[in-house]
């Protein structure tokens, strides 16, 4: 049972619900909050509520946004003929950081995984097909995670998209940049060999 006050227990329990936070860290966070200035605490609480209230999903690409359509979809400078399909909003964030991709995105909201009860109808695939047929898209880039479920989703989407789009591509699997060949694990190396390209 509780060693501290009930309100602290409650706060720690709330923190512990978050991913990557164990019981100990939850207590550390809860006790830290007690040490913070009241204004800081209020602003933290506001930030939490604010984010929840203001954030919604873009009606075009399903990315998280405050405005609908989102900043990327409504940006006139972006290339509307290329759509990059990703699993989660966090993937958009990662790709945007590269500053290399100037096209649009489409967030599926997951991958095919029968074991988790996720089928094609649970992903935003219909929306993707709608976008492709209603506007002139030249290329779809499939950027799923390199695992069994990502692979199946890539195969599933490519079959649906090929009759509709001129070019359906997928991101390459291979060696991480800046690392040494000798440190790459065997599976990555063999995939990199498999996907070798002519120079």
């Amino acid at each position: 049972m509780a060693y501290t006050a009930e309100s602290v227990e409650h706060l720690a329990a709330q923190f512990a619900q978050l991913p990557g936070i164990g019981r100990k860290t939850a207590y550390r966070l809860a006790l830290y909050v007690l040490k913070m200035d009241k204004e800081e605490v209020v602003s933290l609480a506001r930030a939490l509520v604010n984010a929840k209230e203001k954030i919604r999903y873009c009606s075009v690409c399903s990315n998280i946004t405050e405005t609908d359509p989102c900043g990327i979809c409504s940006n006139a400078k972006r290339d509307r003929t290329v759509i990059c399909v990703v699993e989660e909003p966090s993937d958009v964030l990662a790709l945007e950081k590269t500053n290399e991709f100037k096209g649009l995105y489409h967030v599926l909201g997951g991958v095919l995984s029968p074991l988790d009860g996720i089928g094609p109808e649970d992903l935003r695939i219909k929306e993707l097909l709608g976008r492709v047929s209603s506007s002139s898209v030249d290329e779809i880039i499939l950027a799923m995670n390199p695992n069994v479920e990502g692979e199946a989703t890539t195969l599933y989407l490519s079959k649906l998209l090929k009759p509709l789009v001129g070019k359906v591509t997928r991101v390459a699997r291979g060696l991480p940049v800046g690392s040494d060949l000798e440190y790459a694990d065997e599976a990555t190396l063999s995939r990199a060999l498999e996907g070798r390209i002519a120079v």
Binding site: P114, K159, A187
Partner: protein, 378 residues
């Protein structure tokens, strides 16, 4: 590869055991239930990341303890020192590996780093039992030799579970799985074919080693064989496209059966090995003695294969094999084993050992009693 020392904490009946191992023969002697096998199991655990006996990690943790820990100091053939450590915690049900004091990315990354060959009474199933036991043998050998194989194997199992879930759901809801299966079929064929190709290549080089080992042990002209029996006929392994086309075709032919059973009907998870002696099925017709010789020969061939593939001598773990073998055969095995590398042997009776078993730099005898290990015979 040799084990220099092992530390065992809260694992089975060992609360706090440290073993300084000899470079050659290590004999663990004690009555049944005193903890001999547990020492051998601990070494295999460090190497294979799991027990060859228990199905789960929780089972090997001592009752009433929160955590077990195993540490091993190894020395490679070239003298390179390696260190491996595993911890398992009851509350999180997680085990973590440290290899050379760095956290291992995955359990799969540890397998094959410290190659071992295990021979125990349970393994008689390889030649006598169900196909699962033969597939387990096959996977464990090739996975230790090739990380790509292990990766493909883990992926294949995941694909299989996903695909079977679709089939099962469809069966329960009495509807057609439809095109939901299609992406999984492609993955199944691709990864499954890669596994089959590697298994076929394994047998091509394993057969000779098996024959050599069998003749040394049996001392006669009996001719052993090990043939790969995939779940569907593959006339030639030279064309990858052809194998995949055959696999796809087989999947189509199994469609009705799969809808009835709710499980994937064809693929490497249904493969088998046919062992023969003198061209006749060993499983059906071999005598008990022939089975034992075949099993020991298999293990020596496995040792040979791993050594060639990895360029590193595996550690040989012989658990309670002398109860199974007659005096002549066990003497041959022990002579053979000692020429191979470092060997760990468990026995209830030192008298079953050949004379010339003198404790020294190369041979060490450990007495195991109630979860404690003492060097020398007391």
């Amino acid at each position: 590869m040799k084990v220099v020392s092992v530390e065992i904490r809260n694992f089975r009946n060992h609360t706090d055991t440290t073993l300084e191992c000899g470079g050659g023969l290590n004999v663990l002697v004690g009555n049944n239930g005193e903890g001999k096998t547990n020492v051998v199991e601990a070494i295999s655990y460090l190497s294979l990341t799991k027990s060859f006996y228990a199905a789960s990690d929780a089972v090997v943790l001592q009752v009433g303890r929160d955590e077990f820990a195993l540490k091993g100091d190894f020395s490679g053939d070239t003298g390179v020192r390696r260190h491996v450590e595993v911890r398992y915690r009851r509350d999180t049900a997680r085990k973590t590996f440290l290899v050379d004091h760095t956290a291992a990315e995955s359990l799969a990354s540890v397998v094959g780093e410290f190659p071992v060959v295990v021979l125990s009474p349970e393994q008689t199933g390889i030649t006598m039992g169900a196909p699962t036991e033969r597939r387990r043998f096959l996977d464990l050998v090739i996975a230790q030799a090739s990380k790509t194989y292990l990766q493909d194997l883990l992926e294949y199992r995941r694909i299989l579970r996903q695909r079977n879930k679709i089939l099962l759901d469809a069966r329960i809801q009495r509807r057609e799985p439809g095109d939901a299966l299609e992406p999984w079929n492609k993955s199944l064929v691709e990864t499954g074919s890669a596994l089959m190709e590697r298994r076929a290549a394994f047998f091509a080089s394993f057969k000779d080693a098996l024959e050599r080992a069998y003749r040394t042990l049996a001392g006669n002209e009996e001719h052993p064989g090990a043939d790969y029996v995939p779940s569907f006929k593959v006339p030639s392994w030279s064309d990858p496209k052809e194998i995949r086309a055959l696999f796809e075709d087989e999947l189509r032919q199994h469609e009705d059966e799969e809808r009835r059973t709710g499980a994937t009907g064809v693929g490497p998870h249904r493969d088998d090995i046919e062992f023969t002696i003198g061209g006749i099925s060993a499983r059906k017709f071999a005598s008990q003695g022939q089975h034992r010789t075949l099993l020991v020969a298999l293990k020596i061939a496995e040792f040979d294969y791993l050594k060639r593939q990895k360029g590193e001598t595996p550690i040989l773990l012989l658990d309670d094999v002398f109860g199974e073998l007659d005096g002549h055969r066990s003497e041959r095995l022990l002579e053979e084993a000692q020429t191979l590398g470092q060997v760990f042997v468990t026995t209830t009776d030192l008298r079953s050992f050949p004379r010339g078993l003198v404790p020294g730099e190369k041979t060490k005898v450990f007495e195991v009693e109630g979860g404690t290990v003492m060097e020398g015979v007391h």
